[in-house]
Chain length 268, copies 2
């Protein structure tokens, strides 16, 4: 069975070497697609390159303009290839305009001393956390099963300022799908805007730039399978129309799979 | 008096629109220049563009190859210009090869609700912390006055694994220099490699990609002046030859000026 996720990131090679993709209504957000899906699509443009070396280590995606529902052209170029690392620049374009840019570092990983210094917080197992209720007010929310532990959206939008913006949840694709780097990239963007939580006010927002550092290779992701991930996010600074968020994702065994950061525009 | 820092980031416009710079022996590291200086140089290539809109919000620098001591060519292109935001791609090249790539988001900031959720930890004033001793074993360390609070380099390189890699220090340019975005960009890279602290072993390392989110506009940086910044860093995950670091920089008043992350190659 081909899943929504795989359909959504699919790319078809064109005669000029570029790749043709199409936004997916299954991952629609309020305006345009879910940013995590866009990030997965542009990463996939790198992963699909035949001369790609190794696995993704660091990916930064810049949301230059609101991607319109419809086709897009993806291009990815290796700007530098070293012995075990490679540096990529990628773009998604619509009607000749740059909509999304990205840089990616891919590398051949080697076994080394290892440690997960950021430890997964203690939490009840996902099966003990409340299953999601309702269908979510935008399409992409239906593509994820989120079992919230704490830091939910305010029950009342009453401008009651909260002292922090930490959210913790178990999350996986819905329906469940074996984890890979593209799916993990998208999962790094499942957190609702931290400013909504802090302010208990739903102000207009939009992610401007997002970075993911992968701590897991394909083997570790495959071993994680389609199980829940523990995801945690918090805001750091909010000022002058932009705030940032830092987040971590672990598998159930407490293995740190990715750390991620983003800066988000907000209004008022 | 022109300072080392200003000389080091200086760029001369060429007939073809590119900028010509030169690495600075004053900021030399063990192999090639201090990465923070390289990051400041590539940011400066964006800041020097006459059509630049607003101030830097997010900058990602990718260290593709070891910059050699000598001249470099900097190019910066606006890939997308919106009403109040602009998306840049920049490169430093030597002998026609891509050595450094960067993306930058610049934007016109607006007054909004604001909060510094990441609070500056309690610490003694910089004047109460020990002044640096000795001259540092590489040139760039002499360009910064670092007053360490905790998380110093191990006294003995004895492989005694430490449980965490948090370092906290007061830091400013030496000699003192009024703060601006380029100087703050460089300051975001002053932390020694977290893996050295965790392992008490000096293994080979190199930053691969670094992102800075600026939370302060030019006015706030000017108000900070040449005073000390409080800087804090910690590692999150170490595995497969790469670790990441998350860090924050505040001014003495506890105003969050920048948050920054990087992923670093390490050996064995």
């Amino acid at each position: 069975m081909e899943r929504d996720f795989d359909r959504a990131i699919a790319l078809v090679r064109q005669d000029d070497g570029s790749l043709l993709g199409h936004t997916s209504p299954a991952y629609a957000n309020m305006v345009g697609p879910f940013g995590g899906m866009i990030a997965a699509q542009v990463l996939n443009a790198v992963l699909r390159q035949p001369d790609r070396l190794g696995e993704p280590i660091a990916v930064t995606v810049n949301f230059c303009a609101a991607l319109a529902e419809g086709p897009y052209t993806a291009v990815a170029r290796a700007l530098r290839t070293n012995r075990s690392t490679q540096h990529w620049f990628a773009e998604l374009r619509q009607e000749g305009q740059t909509m999304i840019t990205a840089t990616a570092v891919t590398a051949v990983r080697r076994a080394t001393w290892a440690a997960d210094e950021q430890r997964m917080p203690d939490a009840p197992a996902p099966e003990q956390c409340p299953a999601p209720q309702g269908r979510g007010f935008v399409a992409w929310l239906q593509r994820y099963e989120m079992r919230l532990i704490d830091g939910a959206l305010p029950v009342a939008w009453d401008d009651a300022e909260l002292p922090h913006s930490i959210s913790r949840l178990w999350v996986r694709d819905a329906p469940p799908r074996p984890l890979d780097h593209a799916a993990l990239m998208a999962l790094c963007d499942v957190f609702f805007p931290r400013v909504w939580l802090r302010r208990a006010t739903r102000v207009p927002v939009g992610t401007v730039s997002m970075t993911v550092y992968f701590h897991a290779d394909a083997e570790r992701l495959a071993a994680t399978g389609d199980d829940y991930l523990f995801a945690q996010a918090r805001g750091q600074g909010f000022r002058g129309g932009y705030f940032d968020q830092t987040a971590q994702l672990w598998n159930r065994r407490g293995e740190l799979l990715a750390t991620t950061h983003q800066v988000v525009y907000y209004k008022s």
